[in-house]
């Protein structure tokens, strides 16, 4: 029978906290950047111009249909050779994760926009609104409400995806715990603690999302 000893992790507490800080900070950055890419992808794929639509769809499918781990490695090792730009591991992984997340956000935002009844934008047009005005005043306010649960969900997945940046030696929670595990010879305790840390942050968030969904359902 294995003798658990979580006490030994206490001496690595600053390492863990440091890693957790990087993980959370990284998530904030890639969620914000991801939504920005998502907006470009969504409006691009709804564009009147075919070339813009094709460009947006190429972006979305390229990042949605390849594994994030491969993208991370490719951005760090292959892109510098192809494009001649050197990137730090942090830049490369922030870029890869934002674009990956952006491809999913694109689909969520696009889906939210097209879920709004055509009659709504027609009513806006009939009043004399330009397509831009009816998007801002009529369609988006309704669509955003519908998108929020799915955007939150995707952001939770993004939070967990940050664990992959350890392969590029970005000192996030997983990377630091690898250090701790090697040092303490206690991988079971270390990774159990890491799993608990992720869950401790995400479970309250998922509860919040579910509450938000219920509130939205009531107001509709």
């Amino acid at each position: 029978m294995y003798q658990w000893d979580f006490g030994i992790l206490w001496s690595y507490r600053w390492l863990f906290l440091n890693g957790l800080g990087v993980t959370v900070g990284f998530t904030v950055v890639i969620v914000i950047l991801g939504v920005v890419f998502g907006l470009f992808g969504a409006f691009g794929s709804l564009s009147r111009f075919k070339a813009v639509r094709m460009l947006a769809l190429t972006f979305i499918e390229a990042f949605r249909c390849t594994p994030i781990l491969v993208q991370l490695i490719w951005f760090y090792y292959a892109l510098p050779i192809l494009a001649g730009v050197e990137m730090t591991p942090i830049t490369a992984s922030a870029l890869a994760l934002s674009l990956y997340g952006g491809s999913f956000y694109s689909e969520i935002i696009r889906g939210g926009i097209i879920s709004i009844d055509r009659g709504q934008s027609e009513a806006g047009a009939a009043l004399g609104m330009t397509p831009g005005q009816s998007m801002r005043r009529i369609v988006l306010p309704q669509a955003i409400k519908r998108m929020i649960p799915a955007l939150m969900n995707q952001s939770i997945i993004q939070f967990k995806n940050t664990s992959l940046v350890s392969v590029l030696a970005v000192p996030d929670l997983v990377y630091q715990s690898q250090v701790a595990a090697h040092d303490s010879y206690r991988p079971l305790e270390t990774y159990t603690a890491v799993a608990v840390a992720y869950a401790a942050i995400l479970i309250p968030l998922t509860i919040l999302v579910r509450r938000g969904e219920k509130r939205l359902a009531v107001s509709e």
Binding site: D117, G119, Q120, E122, A123, A125, A126, L127, G128, M129, T130, P131, Q133, R137, I138, P141, Q142, K145, E220
Partner: protein, 264 residues
């Protein structure tokens, strides 16, 4: 007639794919005139109505409302979005399914056009919106959301929203078709009031008795062509074409209008 007419449509054609929905339509509506468009579903009457404010872009022919004229056909470019928006601001449209903005109160729905399109101040727009809501008998519903209103009330708000743009013409696209029978009367009463005030209107409807009362001209369409047109009472009471007779035989053509529950 074309000198004095408010709406003038010439040689209008529209196809959806290989389906030709409008085949060479001509239509004149005099200033202050009320034209009812009737016909079986798929006859093209709704598409014709939507061509008047260019919600549907015609393939050929021309559309004129007031002093603004657009020609369509090979080689003519569609008007740009700004021109279209400006044009549509002068035509009010009421839809079968109301299409109220669910995220806004009744008052905000009616204020939206004046504020966003006409760039009125909020205070002026609110005054105008409250007056329009009072006109359709819904002043006390100003702060409610559309979801809490009955179908008839929703449609009256939609009419107030269109009127707040102070349009030159009003287009009604089966405005009572989605309503429970007991709610039809209150909407028709509002339309009738508009007619008596001299609003130029084109009304796509299945309410034949109403068309007979309110419209001065009636157009019967089938398969994308105008089969018969003339003074409303004359066409309804004494149709000349076999197709018109066959269509009208499905309706009670005369008699009292449905009672109006509203007190506008």
């Amino acid at each position: 007639m074309s000198e004095t007419s408010k709406i003038e449509i010439r040689g209008l054609r529209k196809s959806f794919g290989s389906n030709e929905v409008l085949k060479n339509i001509n239509l004149d509506v005099a200033k202050g005139g009320v034209v009812a468009l009737i016909g079986p579903s798929g006859s093209g009457k709704s598409t014709l109505l939507r061509c008047i404010n260019l919600l549907v872009a015609p393939d050929g022919g021309s559309v004129r409302v007031g002093d603004t004229r657009f020609a369509f056909g090979d080689g003519t470019k569609l008007p740009d979005v700004k021109t279209l928006a400006k044009f549509r601001a002068t035509t009010g449209m009421v839809f079968q399914h109301f299409n109220l903005f669910p995220h806004m109160t009744t008052l905000q729905n009616v204020m939206e056009g004046p504020v966003t399109v006409r760039r009125m101040t909020r205070a002026d727009a609110e005054r105008l919106a409250r007056a329009q809501l009072a006109k359709v008998g819904l002043a006390e519903k100003a702060d409610q959301y559309p979801a809490t209103l009955s179908g008839g009330q929703k449609q009256r708000v939609a009419i107030a929203r269109a009127l707040a743009m102070e349009p030159d013409v009003m287009l009604f696209d089966e405005a009572t078709s989605a309503l429970d029978p007991e709610l039809v009367g209150e909407v028709l009463a509002v339309i009738q009031q508009l007619a008596s005030e001299g609003m130029t209107m084109v009304i796509v409807t299945h309410e034949i008795a109403f068309a007979r009362e309110v419209a001065d001209r009636l157009i019967f369409m089938r398969d994308g062509v105008v089969v018969e047109e003339g003074p409303a009472r004359q066409v309804i009471d004494n149709p000349q074409e076999a197709a018109t007779r066959a269509f009208l035989s499905h309706f009670h053509r005369t008699g009292a209008l449905p009672p109006a529950n509203a007190t506008p």
